[in-house]
């Protein structure tokens, strides 16, 4: 009889390393899955009295009201999705139960805070070729002039919707891709294919042994 559940990410088909699936090299392009990131969708009217202040109180981060921008706090990153919708991505090691905290803080406000952690996969692409790999599937201008640190955008990656966020990892250009879990396998496999030309021959991405 099973006594415990073994939690699996949607990339289980590509292998199942404990810290998440990775492929490539940081010197060129590195893809890394960040498993089980806590994500909370928040909807509410930014113009409604007390709404923004109550959110700031409860999660320690402002809600960005400029389209496609990001606001960060010690353990949370708030990404603009729509004029009345944000995705809150926890950045700490431990789950912070944001949805419950928001429920408690916003009480009688007109809002909805929904835990979506199990609905999405979080992928990080880093290295000098990361942008070129993403650009193969996205119609957006990803050049730092047009898409800098502090910005996010919902767009397409080939046939699937993704949320992109530009990162700066110790001076290294990096991107975070948040994709619906049912499309994660598709999105990652097509990224692995896009990475192949930068990683040289002999590195067959996720093809043979699994």
């Amino acid at each position: 009889m099973w006594t415990e559940l073994d939690q699996e990410t949607p990339l289980v088909g590509l292998g199942h390393p404990p810290g998440g699936f990775t492929h490539g090299q940081l010197g060129s392009v590195l893809l890394a899955e960040l498993p089980f990131v806590e994500l909370t969708n928040l909807r509410g009217e930014p113009g409604s009295p007390g709404f923004l202040a109550a959110v700031l109180d409860s999660i320690g981060s402002e809600l960005p009201t400029t389209p496609n921008t990001v606001a960060t706090s010690a353990d949370c990153c708030a990404m603009w999705l729509a004029p009345n919708e944000w995705l809150l991505r926890s950045t700490g090691a431990q789950p912070t139960d944001l949805a419950r905290r928001l429920d408690a803080a916003l009480g009688r406000q007109f809002f909805a805070a929904t835990d979506q952690s199990s609905g999405y996969s979080v992928i990080r692409l880093s290295g000098p070729h990361a942008r070129a790999v993403l650009a193969k599937g996205s119609p957006l201008d990803l050049h730092p002039r047009a898409f800098g640190v502090g910005q996010c955008a919902q767009t397409l990656h080939f046939k699937t919707s993704v949320l992109l966020r530009r990162l700066d990892l110790a001076g290294q250009e990096a991107w975070e891709v948040i994709v619906r879990r049912s499309f994660a396998d598709y999105a990652v496999r097509i990224m692995l294919d896009a990475m192949e030309e930068y990683l040289g021959p002999g590195v067959a991405p996720g093809s043979s042994s699994h």
Partner: protein
């Protein structure tokens, strides 16, 4: 490919959007007193404009907001964009 300007997100590729047909079609409020012809007109009949056309778009793969655009059906050139409801608010 067309470049379409979402009123919130700015210029994006056409592939991120879906078309929503003619704009400013208002659902009749007294539906129970409508004749079949009037109901049919509301449901099915659309202009087939040659020239400037007011139409609805949705930024499906972006912010998922609907908006109204004015496009020239001869050249496919977009002339203006407005957030949904802006027109109605001006009139009232």
């Amino acid at each position: 490919m067309l470049v379409i300007r979402c009123p919130w997100c700015g210029e994006r590729a056409e592939t991120e959007f879906n078309y929503g047909g003619e704009a400013d079609i208002v659902r009749p409020t007294d539906a129970e007193h409508l004749s079949d012809r009037e109901w049919g007109d509301y449901v099915f009949m659309r202009k087939n404009t040659l020239g400037l056309h007011r139409e609805q778009w949705v930024h499906s793969h972006g912010c998922r907001r609907w908006f109204v655009a004015e496009r020239d059906t001869r050249t496919y050139q977009f002339k203006s964009y407005e957030k949904l409801g802006a027109h109605a608010m001006e009139k009232s």
